[in-house]
């Protein structure tokens, strides 16, 4: 019994060390705020203006029964149609959102979806709502719109580590289709600032030491038919994703408009980007990234023709083919120490 107690204490000690070393947690130390020059190594914005959102005092909204802001020109019906599937709007929403914008909160996996699933979380919302939801022309057809927030993260890490880095991947406002997109994690040749200028060149040995993957679960509908496709362009560590529409006109059997719908509960995905740094990786700066590719013809055909899911027919749209950015949709700069 005494031996067993000693073994137990030893294991508890080992486990405690392990948990201390590897758990996901925040320290009480001040997190590096944006716009200080404490740790960033590069001029990421290169003079491009990155605008904050609007961060305001919340007041109770009688229509929605939570703390969602009041939009004077939205009708009561529209509040319910646009926002009813989203989580309750928190009272401290703007306080937390601003801390994330300012770079003070960095571990997105700990942020409740009650924050990042709200359109108000994204800095462009308060100026975009007018030309999308309030003054939206119902004749418009908006099939393609997506992006990541934030665009760049800088990480410091030792070798022999596997890290998960998050970004929010979302549908554009008032986008009406189910967008099929291939998220491709890769090691680009160069790191880019927001304007597309080269910040540094990837070390030649990067592929020997750094590997990247998306670890979100695949789309179950795509998974159900992918093995039967004669060809598909989703590589082994790519992630096929459907981004859901953020606006739809609801029509009856006579094709008459009966209403509108807005944000589904999963219009934003928390993208989990896993980066593995091998043992003995030389110290220095490395760049990992994500770009969006268009699904191939064979995948698209399955979505067009399969009437047993909500992505069927015209509602499905192969994204990633028309819109291209001059920089990757998401970049992670890693200092290996």
């Amino acid at each position: 019994m005494k031996k067993l107690a000693i073994i137990l204490i030893a294991i508890i000690s080992i486990a405690a060390i392990s948990v201390t070393s590897y758990s996901i947690y925040f320290t009480d130390d001040p997190i590096i705020p944006l716009n200080t020059n404490l740790r960033n190594s590069y001029n990421y914005t290169a003079g491009a203006t990155v605008s904050p959102g609007q961060y305001m005092e919340t007041t109770f909204n009688d229509i929605t029964g939570d703390y969602r802001p009041t939009y004077n020109e939205l009708t009561e019906d529209q509040y319910h149609q646009f926002f009813s599937e989203l989580p309750e709007f928190p009272k401290d929403f703007f306080e937390i959102s601003q801390l994330i914008y300012d770079g003070k909160i960095t571990d997105y996996s700990r942020v409740s979806p009650s924050y990042w699933k709200q359109p108000e979380f994204y800095p462009g919302w308060f100026t975009s709502i007018n030309n999308t939801y309030i003054d939206n022309d119902p004749n418009y057809w908006t099939p393609e719109g997506y992006g990541c927030y934030p665009a760049i993260k800088e990480i410091s890490a030792p070798s022999d580590t596997t890290i998960t880095v998050n970004t929010y991947f979302r549908t554009g406002y008032a986008t009406e289709s189910y967008q099929g997109l291939i998220i491709h994690p890769y090691l680009p040749d160069t790191a880019k600032d927001l304007r597309g200028n080269t910040l540094f060149t990837q070390p030649d040995s990067s592929k020997k030491y750094i590997s990247v993957a998306i670890t979100n679960p695949d789309n179950p509908i795509y998974n159900s038919f992918k093995s039967s496709l004669p060809y598909n362009n989703v590589a082994d560590n790519d992630w096929f994703c459907i981004l859901k529409p953020t606006y739809q006109l609801l029509k009856n059997e006579y094709n008459e408009v009966t209403g509108e719908s807005g944000f589904p509960s999963d219009w934003v995905r928390l993208l989990e980007y896993e980066i593995t740094i091998a043992p003995d990786t030389p110290s220095g700066d490395y760049i990992c990234a994500i770009k969006i590719n268009e699904p191939c013809h064979q995948i698209n055909q399955e979505f067009y023709f399969s009437p047993d899911h909500e992505y069927y027919g015209r509602a499905y749209y192969p994204g990633g083919g028309i819109l291209k950015s001059n920089i990757p949709h998401f970049q992670v700069v890693i200092h290996v120490e």
Binding site: I100, S109, Y122, P123, G124, T142, P150, A151, K324, S325
Partner: protein
């Protein structure tokens, strides 16, 4: 005794799985900088067509407007949903069908005479449509095409690719 064994097993598993993966905010891995740029762009077809479409009545056509395009309704609208201004450029990803000689794109209004032109010699070269589209901005485009002795087909698709650059 069984209870102690169960605790031992649980603790052993914890120590094994605890080392598997870490977030970017653990003791030795730190997020040191974040650039909170949101570069979301959206593409709309105000005509309600699924794409920019040209329906020619014959093999020859001059300044044929995109289908359903009118003075009030553009063929294409680009909206900046992000929080940085962007420059918008565009080009075709492959050559046009033989016989198509021009595509004119007018920015902000439907005046063909003030439009910028792509020709069959440079359709795959980027041209700037908008030098700076504000973070909450939206821009509309009216489009015409000209062709001569173009093969009759049931429809040929070409991709007009839109490139955004933060400014």
């Amino acid at each position: 005794m069984n209870k102690i064994k169960a605790i031992l097993v649980a603790l052993t598993l914890l120590s094994v799985f605890g080392a598997a993966s870490v977030s970017a905010d653990s003791s030795d891995v730190t997020t040191t900088w974040i650039v909170p740029a949101d570069t979301t762009i959206a593409i709309s077809y105000p005509t309600g067509e699924g794409k920019i479409e040209f329906d020619a009545a014959g093999q020859n056509f001059t300044d044929l407007a995109a289908t359903s395009q009118t003075g009030a309704t553009a063929a294409l609208t680009i909206t900046n949903n992000g929080n940085t201004a962007v420059q918008i450029e565009a080009r075709w990803t492959s050559d046009w069908p033989t016989g198509v000689s021009y595509v004119n794109i007018s920015v902000s209004d439907n005046t063909n005479s003030t439009s910028l032109s792509y020709t069959d010699a440079d359709e795959t070269t980027n041209q700037t449509l908008v030098a700076s589209l504000a973070k909450d901005g939206s821009e509309s485009f009216w489009i015409w095409t000209t062709g001569n002795e173009v093969d009759e087909t049931a429809g040929v698709d070409r991709t007009l690719r839109i490139y955004s650059t933060n400014t």
